[in-house]
Amino acid sequence: MTKSELIDLLAQRQKHLTYKDVEFAVKTMIEHMAKTLASGERIEIRGFGSFSLHYRPPRLGRNPKTGESVPLAGKYVPHFKPGKELRERVNNSTAELTQDDEQEQESIVTSESAVSN
């Protein structure tokens, strides 16, 4: 599901809002979340999960073309921890894997047989 598909879905459910309003609301929410993380703050959505920043210490990288070492500064990266409801619903889902899923066939078979045991 892409952002525009999410907008379509929400527009169908929220008949009292125009498509434009739903589009604006979704973009506003995403921008609010991105801006929050960009200012170093956490996001906590009960039943969905939390977003926080993890620190990556400075390290020596390498220029893949020249093989030359380059010092890389420490930085923050966004991290997501799924909440209880999301974790349980996803794990309990018996939905077939979609075809565009990148998992190897082997791991699918293994996990499915383990579930049915």
Binding site: L37, A38, F48, Y76, A95, D101, S107, S111, V115
Partner: protein, 103 residues
């Protein structure tokens, strides 16, 4: 203070002019649609933010950290999040209180 659903609803109320009840309901529905899509086993791609993927994990050996007893971690389906380029760049630029404060 972390960003919550109430904060997002307040923002929608201010910027969209919908009433507070509708704003709250909208925020709730947004996250419910994302959860439902992931529950169906699909990927969710929010451009400007990041992608949520589903991964099937095989059973692997684990250990009870208290007792040291070996117990298998059962096969499971989990959600992973990969921030997009744009979000990564914005967060990386965050200077913060450089090294001290744990976020």
């Amino acid at each position: 203070m972390a960003l919550t659903k109430a904060d997002m609803a307040e923002r929608l109320f201010q910027e969209l002019g919908i009433n507070k009840r509708e704003a709250k309901e909208f925020v709730e529905m947004f996250f419910e649609e994302v959860r439902a899509a992931l529950e169906r086993g699909g990927q969710v791609k929010l451009s400007g933010f990041g992608n949520f993927n589903i991964r099937d994990k095989k059973q692997r050996p684990g250990r009870n950290p208290k007792t040291g007893e070996e117990i298998p971690i059962t096969a499971r389906r989990v959600v992973t999040f990969h921030p997009g380029q744009k979000l990564k760049a914005r967060v990386e630029a965050y200077a913060g209180s450089s090294d001290k404060e744990q976020l």
